[in-house]
Symmetry: C2
Subunit: 453 residues, 2 copies
């Protein structure tokens, strides 16, 4: 009898992260300063650990995972790969469906894979404190957990409206000993400035990033951490795809198509980059990022240099963007509400190596519930995007009779998102899409960069 | 390098449940009707499936697990056994600590082990609908999941105050397609009767049981299900201890002492009964049920015949009880707020084969947070009781220098209990214990049974 959960022993946890830059047809576009000049890596060391900055620009194919990080990975990794037989039967599809379950991590999502690495490199650089921002709370929880494991203080600027509406995520961070502040605060200039304009401001991810960066830049003992978008974050996440390849090898299978939810790109990079190496070597495989129609960066955005944050504090990155001041509607897949995308993912989409599709919110929850009924796991709203794409592909296979092998990333569980399911079940969710002119207008706000935009 | 998670393959999931009755020094005390006469098994078939009633009174040592149930178990079982090295290091103890993680189930607790079995036996008996009650929601979620998997309708009578305060658990049940009603309802006589006395009644587990039983008794197509206390429920849970024994064998270890949280007894029976067979064969091992000081049935209750529910609808069972109308304070370990205990667990305690201790609430959350920081898993408040006992034992080992092997059951994760952690962190929790006269008074309410009490 075939296993439902395809095992992998702790001793088989990969020893290296895979750096996709080594196999890209073109080198990544450099990060630029507002004057259009490339940003020197040293400038990033004001707020990032030196090893992370090295990883950000490295062209080495394999980067060794420190023993201390692998030891932390062993608390929850290898993550199980499932064959979703019960879902296949429910759909009546000839397709085979596999999914990698990253919800088994301490914080319930894949974010922890990079959090423990970032905390480790900061620790060995002598850093005592970490700052970060969090919206939905998945990244904040992850860095709270990782900081605690390594004895680093953690301060999380949590968007005020989330701080009030998501007390469970806040308590989770506090359980691991992190200090959680409702942003905007009066502790930073960015916070003060925002509160002067509107004392009742509910906060935004943009402001929270600005506060966390400002504090990290102003203190010797403190660095900043980020949960997606940057190259080194995607690098750490490649543990996902590598484990998955090993597990599929054990059962003698290989995917025809892979789906992963896409916000800042860390799921897409994490699962797909290791397979992209095979594709570069001639293997036929479709790699599809799945984003919400309400924040359609890869499918409807503009490929241009733009800021990573809404305040314009970060370097300029070449990416698919809706404009750094684009405000997506408050869909429940909070992790996918990002105006831009990873520069690596964007460039690989631009070059036709990765594909992207967009799916509407209501259909993602419908898919999530089908999945929960079949497999017993309730997916995070972000993960529901990949589930939707998988079910659609499996139903196409049913029509055509193709026995494709479909793989997707279940990036996290939905235990902290049951209120979103409740709204779906009560018929209270809405879909949102944009007329072309709205997106065009947003794109008019791209920063003017000498010789570039 | 030793594994942190001790693996077991799906093919090694036990094929039989272990029935402790075969190895008890004395046969279990019979269930009695109010007139003091034994209850005939056939009478139970009005609300339970025939196979479950057979299991309730079986003396066979091994009872085969149906293939269909094992297939459902494979969605999450075998549950991982962990070596808690990081906790050992945090405590500086020479003891070895293992724990079985039952929080990996679809509903986040061990309850699902019996839910899929109960749903299966009802299905093959031609039953179309299941009723049950739920307080905290762990059992209700489990039967909702199991009913959905097998195509049975499920109606859950959820204590009204929980229905309002625990919307996440409610949404989880609805996600799996169950109908969830706030009890008391106007649909049953028990509910109507309660509402007549108090139209604003917040509900109680006693009333919810009465409603679920009444409906099941009045409909041919409908049966009732219960999540603990009964022999067949504990039987199904023995999958926990059996898997654990196999996993410990793989690493060549055996526990000196086992701790499990104890409310109705399904964790204690599930983990300890398979080890009790070894104890009966002469092996030295301590088996310790851990209960809250605020509901101290095994440690301070009276061993007597009493009703299983507060309304007196169930047969009389010989057990440790605080009196069927005892109302424990609303501690956060809702699963441990039961006035009585499994008859099997009670009898084995009475005979000195099982031990029992009680721990106060605040100390359990302190232990839960230490555990979460070390191992990355946030335990359910019920599980925190076993964690507390384990940490205390490990600290005693530190004093004495003994390298004991300690095993405990992590019965569930705490993702739906973060508000309890929040209250602990805010210093808002209280401990409650009882002067002897309060308990004595409660015991005066035991039912008068001719020739017995």
């Amino acid at each position: 009898m075939e296993n439902i959960k395809i095992p992998l022993d702790e001793s088989e946890i990969p020893t290296h992260w895979y750096n996709v830059i080594a196999d890209m047809p073109n080198p990544p576009a450099p990060y630029l300063a507002p004057d259009g000049q490339p940003v020197a890596p040293e400038m990033m060391e004001a707020i990032f650990a030196p090893e992370l900055v090295k990883q950000e620009v490295s062209t080495e194919r394999w980067i060794a995972i420190p023993d201390e990080v692998r030891e932390m990975y062993r608390l929850w990794r290898p993550a199980p790969l499932y064959r979703a037989k019960a879902l296949e039967e429910m759909l009546g599809t000839p397709a085979k469906i596999y999914f990698k379950h990253e919800g088994v991590s301490p914080t319930g999502s894949h974010k922890t894979n990079s959090a423990v690495a970032q905390a480790y490199y900061n620790k060995i650089a002598g850093i005592k404190r970490l700052t970060t921002e969090t919206g939905a709370g998945q990244w904040g929880s992850s860095i709270a957990f990782a900081g605690n494991k390594l004895g680093l203080e953690v301060r999380v600027y949590m968007v005020k409206v989330s701080y009030e509406q998501k007390p469970m995520r806040r308590s989770m961070m506090q359980t691991w000993g992190a200090e959680v502040l409702a942003s905007p605060t009066t502790l930073t200039q960015a916070g003060q400035h925002t509160l002067e304009k509107d004392p009742n401001c509910p906060g935004s991810l943009g402001t929270a990033i600005s506060e966390a960066v400002e504090e990290a830049a102003s203190r010797e003992d403190t660095n900043y951490t980020l949960g997606s978008v940057l190259n080194h974050v995607l690098l750490h996440q490649t543990i996902i795809g590598q484990e998955t390849k090993q597990q599929l090898e054990k059962v003698g299978d290989y995917p025809d198509v892979i789906f992963a939810p896409c916000g800042g790109g860390s799921n897409v990079g994490g699962m797909m980059f290791p397979f992209l190496a095979d594709k570069a070597a001639g293997k036929e495989i479709r790699l599809v990022a799945v984003e919400p129609t309400s924040c359609p960066t890869l499918t409807r955005g503009h490929y241009a240099y733009d800021y990573g944050d809404s305040e314009g504090l970060t370097p300029l990155m070449q990416m698919y963007t809706l404009g750094h001041d684009f405000m997506p509607p408050s869909i429940h897949a909070g992790g996918l509400r990002y105006h831009g995308d990873s520069a690596l993912v964007s460039q690989l989409c631009r070059e036709g190596i990765l594909d992207a599709i967009a799916v509407p919110q209501i259909a993602t929850f419908e898919a999530g519930i089908m999945f929960a009924k079949a497999m017993g796991i309730i997916p995070a709203p972000e993960s529901c995007h990949a589930v939707r794409a998988t079910i659609d592909e499996a139903l196409r296979c049913k029509e055509t009779g193709e026995a494709k092998t479909i793989l997707f990333t279940l990036s996290g569980h939905g235990h902290f998102d049951m209120s979103a399911y409740e709204k779906y079940l009560a018929g209270e969710l809405e879909d949102q899409s944009y007329p072309e002119e709205v997106l065009q207008d947003a794109l008019n706000h791209l920063p003017k960069v000498p010789g570039i935009n």
